[in-house]
Assembly symmetry: D2
Homo-oligomer: 352 residues x 4
């Protein structure tokens, strides 16, 4: 059994990886760490865990982080894991980070992201020498790199839906001017467990709230990833996120002009070929929906073409807490430890 | 035009009475007061008001409260209006308070409520000499008193649904031992606009959360009111509130044993007779639902009887922000100023 | 009082105009007609109407339609009002139709719509000689025409949100190639009251379901209207409707490339100028949301511009049963009868 | 591998057991049968199953039902399995039925249920000789019997929440007069996949709808089971089901007077003792909620006592499609085949 420490265990992201690890045949949780509720059993904080674990929450400390484990998962805000990174590498601990700390290959790329991020105050990185040793954690695009890296930057929830949806078409350089407009629809859980005005039920229930219009930080990693893929020559993503009054899920509807006319069947085949070895990407004939992937690690994708075949619409759907967060982290851990990608992740979506 | 000042204007309760007054033929809003956002136009705080008012929020002060108006509506927490009460009475201003400050006839009754209330720290009342001059604002039961009082204590949202649902049956002393068990189902807006863990969408959506079990403070005023009504000989309400993942509405299902067998039609007729002059109470043949009263001041009620006619179930339904709060306040203001009860309140429920 | 007959009174559209007319100072309902539930009081079919009306539903017949009234509102499927149209014109009755029967100026335009519509079987029109006497009922763009016409074709719910959102920019011919991509998000009530798999709560709750991708019939009237407006030179709308698990509201996010760079403030000012006399269109600085217009006749609009000012995003929001249907019909009736546009429509949106 | 045939595979109940069996280490699905969509792959009917199974739906026939399998699960309406029962017993096939066909020990009991059921037309039973050979499938109360029976009548969804919540207290004969009042709150999925007015999203969303007041058929099996348990002397359940605008879950709040005063801690201990070997019943200190059991086979229970300790409130919560249906069926299959009760059922509830 590989032993995993979870830092930030009481947020939705920490909870997600905890639950996956508790049911995993090849991993066990060595310790859980969080600033809140230290000293308390996590099943008393989250009663849905009653009978499933009695792990006690530990306060974070330099000594604790990375001790007695094979790998660490940081489900923490931007800026946290970069403080512990050098020490972990010295100790020989692998780690995955959920924030943007290790999603970028160099300080230039990171600075563009940091500038856009609403809560990063300074653009400098505390472990910049490690950036080029980290792998960006879109498992389907970056398997070899992830398998060989000691550090994985888990992708942003919106980013992974956009990147998986657009990778085959950018790979072939078929997007006119590299410009894609994306309307993203997200459940509230992406904002975490902390009560806030936008996520207050009386405000959000039955509502749709566009936010960070043309300004969301997940666009940066999407543009870098897609614009440098295969034959691609750069990417510009005009992204409007919309907050929905539901808990889970991200559905992204992506529009672009094509550099040449192609019919739908050809594009579907291109997608099927591109993802033929990827068990978690399902190319559908019909439109993806939020509920068809709920609770699972699937990313459902379909494409639609204008009558004149000059314009393309791609729709992708994920569970933002699974493929958009802990599911991808689990998949990346499997890859890092040489296991089957779907170990501990072989779950049917919950319908209805 | 009668001129009304609203204190606590930026909460849901203040917003509710503001909107009713803005559309009322006989009232106008002289000023709005709130601790947050002072100096800002309220339609910029609440964009749904764009084009409907440009009133600017004022900071509260001793000089301001009660100035330049005919009456004040306090949509404020417990303990606020009692600080201003003596001064307002001296100035000759009528006022309505949404909290429990003026719902009780004397300090003994108030103390029982204060003890039960989760956020009242001391049980003493700062204007106890005014308690017996205030009217309890269940318009249907207390019209004459309200018309003659300068102070009205607006009822609690759960209390009004319970009291209207049970008044005819307590009035006839038909409840065995005076004991009623009530399961109350409420939308989230009763908890106000302040973000909190229980009202966080990711937590409450699709959920049902029982809370303050057998311990909710609204029971106190319900027991006093029902237990002293007509032939009643005391009341004991076992009350379980349940929080639902919806915004508005309270549906109360109330169970009791009867002191004698009665058939359903007789009880329905008793209810119709009791409320025959009350335009906002609708006695239905079918079960009330949350949505049939949404956005209106109606209280829908129906009754159901066990096969042996020894046990009774009463169901009542209100919009917690209307009949459960601002609608009742508007109705009480109408009564206090000698207007028709439904002036400014003649609204069809919003369906679907 | 002007007397109105409602045909199709028991659907959501009929219900909507019934409720508006019941509260209107200048109109009364002469009779209500529907195929279902004939002979029954409508408040027994819809208990939220208890105490508000006791109108009895009548079966449709050639004699009844148009009798004893000044105007008829058809809230009926495509193909119904065109059967009664000639007779109504002969009788001198004005009428408004909610379907596509009278939205098009000639048979060519109508045929394009009929071909796209999922439930129109034949493309011929039964009253084609009346098409050019009907006004298309986007009140803000077509006031004079509506005032002078005896027939008004009420716009489609998606169409009105798209048309109001794009009219100022098409009017100035600022859209590159006239191409706009639109992601429309709609509540379930647009599909009416009839139970169906897509609107089954267990299926739609917490879900997002894209449907009729690039193929919705409301696009046709949007393209005709926008493409012929002012300096416009045609319009192509790539439209993806998304069904949400909420009851009311349509939010449309519309993307386009501009023919020249313009900054946001200039575009906002262009919009404010364009709609300066239109009380129901609100140009906002912040993003529109579904809930800020709920239950009202408002259309909220805002615009956002890419960093290089070459691409524009417009967001519009309406209540699909109000501005998207009965509210617009009421506004058009007001215009047809020479009343203030907001008579009977002066309602604050319901928030929270 | 034990081979299971599913009859009624395209309803929510059939889907539920299909998904559990597909992931089960000791079972496999031999065939799926349904009247709709015969000849189609079930993953094309339910795209959330894409990549998980390619089983094709078969039309029901006398030859097919029971062929090539070790056991049959009937997820069919009342009256279906009793037609095939004798033949299955002859063939030596075990079976579980989701309807009321085999929940009752004799024709008298069955007749009381049939009379109450809204869609059973005749009260006679087509396989009455088998009634006393069937076990009632509340696994926690009836393990031995289930293990030895070839037929199991899976309990009603409301019944299992009520029975598990009240069994310890009836077992000790502590309920005054055996009378309990129950308010049950249920998601919409209990009504199945067929579109219907009550489950139409525009009607049910944000609503609470009480239905079959004091008249629900699940009460019958609850009264028989509880009233005959241990020292119990009969049971009367006054039951009000309430339909909520959510998909899954049943929360039951149950009120009773006690035959003697007991404090809360004693009752909690009695419950913990009663269920000490039952992994799926969790006795909590805090109130159960819908979401804490979502997607799992748990039944969460807690109890609350009036101040004078004379009255008791019990709250239980289940996922109606898991413990309330397919989860219980899976648990019963495990028992029938001598496996661990939680085989294939060891799932963490989905939160948030």
């Amino acid at each position: 059994m590989n032993r995993i420490q979870i830092v930030g265990a009481t947020g939705y992201g920490g909870l997600g990886i905890l639950e996956l690890l508790l049911n995993h045949p090849n991993f066990e949780v060595s310790s859980i760490v969080a600033r809140d509720e230290a000293g308390t059993r996590i099943d008393l904080v989250y009663p849905h865990l009653a009978g499933r674990t009695e792990l006690v929450i530990n306060s974070p400390s330099n000594d604790l982080i990375g001790s007695d484990c094979d790998a660490v998962v940081f489900s923490t805000p931007d800026g946290v894991s970069q403080q512990y990174a050098s020490n972990l590498v010295t100790l020989g601990r692998k780690f995955i980070d959920y924030s943007g700390d290790f999603r970028f290959r160099d300080t230039d790329d990171y600075a563009k992201y940091a500038e856009r991020h609403p809560s990063i105050k300074e653009n400098s990185h505390k472990a910049e020498q490690l950036l080029n040793r980290a792998a960006y954690g879109v498992s389907e695009l970056n398997k070899t790199n992830i398998a060989q890296s000691e550090i994985v930057g888990n992708p942003g929830c919106f980013a992974i839906g956009i990147i998986l949806g657009l990778a085959p078409i950018f790979n072939e350089d078929l997007v006119e001017d590299g410009i894609v407009t994306v309307d993203g629809l997200t459940g509230s859980s992406g904002a975490g467990k902390k009560p806030a005005p936008l996520q207050h039920l009386s405000h959000l229930n039955d509502n749709v709230i566009p936010y960070r219009l043309l300004n969301h930080q997940h666009v940066i990693e999407s543009e870098f990833t897609l614009g440098r893929l295969g034959n691609a020559q750069g990417a510009t993503i005009d992204f409007i996120p919309h907050l929905l009054g539901t808990t889970r899920g991200i559905l992204s509807t992506m529009h672009m002009r094509l550099t040449k006319s192609i019919d739908r069947e050809n594009i579907l085949n291109m997608y099927r070929e591109f993802y033929k070895e990827d068990t978690f990407v399902r190319i559908l004939d019909t439109a993806p929906t939020l509920k068809n992937v709920l609770g699972s690690n699937y990313c459902d994708i379909s494409v639609f073409v204008s009558e004149d075949m000059n314009r393309l619409v791609v729709i992708s759907s994920i569970d933002n807490l699974m493929k958009g967060q802990s599911g991808s982290a689990m998949q990346n851990l499997n890859i890092m430890f040489g296991l089957e990608q779907n170990a501990g992740l072989d779950k049917t979506p919950m319908y209805p």
